[in-house]
Amino acid sequence: MEKLKKKIRSFSFWNWVIASIIFRLILIYFPNNLNLSSRPEVSTPLTSFRRLSEGYWLKQLSMSPYAGSMYHGSPLLLSLLGPLTVKRIEGQPNHLLYSLVSVIADVVSAMLIRATGQNLQVAYFGTLKSFDLVKQIEGSEVHSPGDVAALIYLCNPFTIVACMGLSTSPIENMAVILCLYGACSRLIPLAAFGWVIATHMSLYPAILIIPVIFLLGRGPDAPPRKLFLQMHQEKGVLNQSKLPPCFSWGPIIHFAFWALLWSVYVLVLCGISLKQFGGLWEMFKSTYGFILTVEDLSPNIGVLWYFFAEVFEFFWNFFLIVFHANILFMILPLAIRLHHRPCYLAYVAVCSMLKSYPSVGDSALYSGLLGWFVNELSDMQFSLFLFCGYVGVSPLSPVMHNLWIWRGTGNANFYFATTMVYACLQIVLVVEGVSAMLNHDRKLRSLITGKPRDAKS
């Protein structure tokens, strides 16, 4: 019976995967990809397809791709994806090849998410077994986190829109997921590669170094170590073999070595391709400098564009430092409190409400990663409110944009209001998720320590 259930579940999983791929392929054949690549929610100055084409064109003309404040991405992307921007196949829609690359990136990301989720599930069951809590769980519905997360990622409208909008975010997401997969499965070179590529393409995945260190040192998500000690104290039996391993520094040094190797390699490649155009300094100024200084004030679903359009120039540097330091400062208390759950820490780190140029591709990533924690976060408050909020903001944001830019009947505040709501939704999601995760840990603890109490009472 169990096996049949599992078979049914896995069958429907592959069904959904194939259905989403077919859906994407159908969308490719719509004219101009439904003009999704021109939406500000999908394409930002960092991920825009047109800017990639412009950078490639400038490079073909023997000029620096960063010459005109148009292209702000990696030179490696130019070499890899640049030729795809100009290649046309007779009779097929434009940019067919590029769309196919995005679709493949999505599918690969989904498979990696599934594999990581299965890893997490194995670890979860392992800890439950060590607490002798398996019987408690068997009754309630336990979903396979890998399948759920992979399906959320593939079938999420945000992911589909980001894929069809010809942005570079599917590839950036794939790099992040590759890093987490490698760290969970102890494939250290792969993890280092993913981390280096993700940081190189957009600056913010650099803070994933902290969850990755915890993942490599300790292993995937598990209840806090002192719970184990507590349990064994209560039981009076100290079984060394059942304890989780202590924090090991070996894999971390290994990771540091590989990360150094990959980053030197990437920088050398970039240096070669930009040799006559100002070299690496020009690249850093145009990519990381552009991200950190928020030069472009075009609207997007973040809040920083309007903020820096309105704030007086005198305060720019101050606010830039405040916002970017906020990201760094938040990771520290999160790491202290959630160090035993590095995958969840990674998820929170990826939630990007303070990014300079966010897009729906980022929300596709963290929605997908949220699926890993369906079991732990099943008691999350406000889940319906959040879901309805996202469903509400998604069509409202393009409407307000249209009113402001195309009809001229609205003004910037309309669009800014929807972005504020979106930011608030993300905040509520993160805060509630963290609370729910901590609650789950408390519940586990009470289950373990409360069992003797139950037995008494």
Binding site: S53, E54, G68, M330, R337
Partner: protein
Amino acid sequence: MFYLGGFIVGGRLSADSSALCSGSKWHVRLVGRSGGPNVTSRIGSDYPYRSVGLQEMKMLYARQGSESDEKSAMLLKAQADFLESSTSYYAPEWSFPPASGNLRYGTLPREAVCTENITPWLKLLPCQDKAGISTLLDRPSIYRGFYLSQRLHLTLTGSGYEGMDLSIILEKTLTVVLQPNSQRASLVRDSEKHIQPSWSLSSIFGNQVGGKCVLAETSNVYLLLDRDRIFIEESSLLSKNSSVLYKFEVEKYSESEPFDLGLTWKILVVWLCQQAPLHASRFLMGSGNERGAIAISLKSTQTTEGFMGAHSNDERCELRVDVFQVVPWYVKVYFHSLQVFVDQQPKAVSDIIEKIHVSPSKDKVSPGVMELVLKLPCSVSSTALTIEFDKGFLHIDEYPPDANQVFDIPSTIVSFPNFHASMVFLENHSLNKSPLLSKFQEKSHVMSYTEVLLVPLTTPDFSMPYNVITITCTVFALYFGSLLNALRTRVTEEESFLKDKGSIIFIIFIHHPTISEEFWFERKLKGDHNQPPQTKFVMVCCQENWSATSAAVKVVGKDNR
């Protein structure tokens, strides 16, 4: 177009203070068709190449310490203030021979048509508008004209060392298209538009010239009668295609005997100015404030046949067209989207465009420059170039005082290197001594200026700086505070706070002193019989002083305690 008239002022301002205004000469120059009111400043430099901007010119003047500095400073101040920043000037490569490479070109596409624009221009002249030819510049007459263009051309000559004086030649050009008063009264319709009116300086300007300016070396008025449409009772030495240049010396006249020049036609003459081989126009495509496209359209005029030049003998003759386009930085052009249509058929870009030089714009630093060399077949009837752009979003300080005033894209210069607009004089060597006429004899191409384009940009809400900052910072504070709070809470505190199990509802009423909003949070806590009660609550940590004065906590137990 009824009449073309122009003034050019040539002056030599040199380092030696004793040579103050020694070289002022007045000339009249006829200028071809141009695109619209604009002020152009061209700086030519014969130096070995180094970047010369207006700032450097100012510094150069400041070092001289002579009276000419005041005037030149005024010149730069008055007319080139807007051209000081690097966003306004650029260095074209091919479009302005022979000074290519050492040329800095700046334009002000929008100048308010105000009579005061001409006053600083005139102040540089030694007699201003009190004596000499400049007394003709009666403001109301000029500003009633059809077209007005002012130009500054600064040339640096001499190397500044080894005893050679560093000198700067300043040329100012004022181009006006006017109509005589008499004809203005009886405005005729299309078919009779090209009939040349009888005119005189007093009928156009309302003034007469009362003698030359005392400080001027020479003061001349030239009249050029064009080509073969005019019946000329001259010697037959002149060929049919030549024009006649008359020279009048103003110094022979005085206040008592003022100088007035006029032309009366005995027979009705229909005359059109010479046109360039292709008529250039430019327009915007697309709608909305996010993106658009610029289109340059070149249509052949009927005079193409007369202009075959050196290529008429070839079967496959090609018309070379140079396009020089500048866009400000907030119009972000995608150069890769350039498309060419010849006779309404799309063509591959590499077929038509022989050379392309692109200098992309840097945000807030420099404008985008595009120079193209096109080779079109001679029999082309129309050509169109389109290029797409995205509109930028500016900071609130970067908008002009009237924010909904549209922004301007300066004219495109379309030049035809195969066709020359220079003059060739057949005889009379004494004329060649005049610098104005020798300038006319310089090789110069036919240049066509297109219209200035108006680009509306979206504006943010200018009344919102405080509100935006407050709201955004509140959101970040909410994030920061509530997340830290969620991380901070410990179970033991909650257990000691609660008395017993059951559902507990917390209502926290927060009154923030600076943000007068009320946040209501309602928490329902799940209780389970088998487990000890767990509580969780999230408090929004706004600022320091919430707890003392305005927090009210109400606890309602299941059994109404």
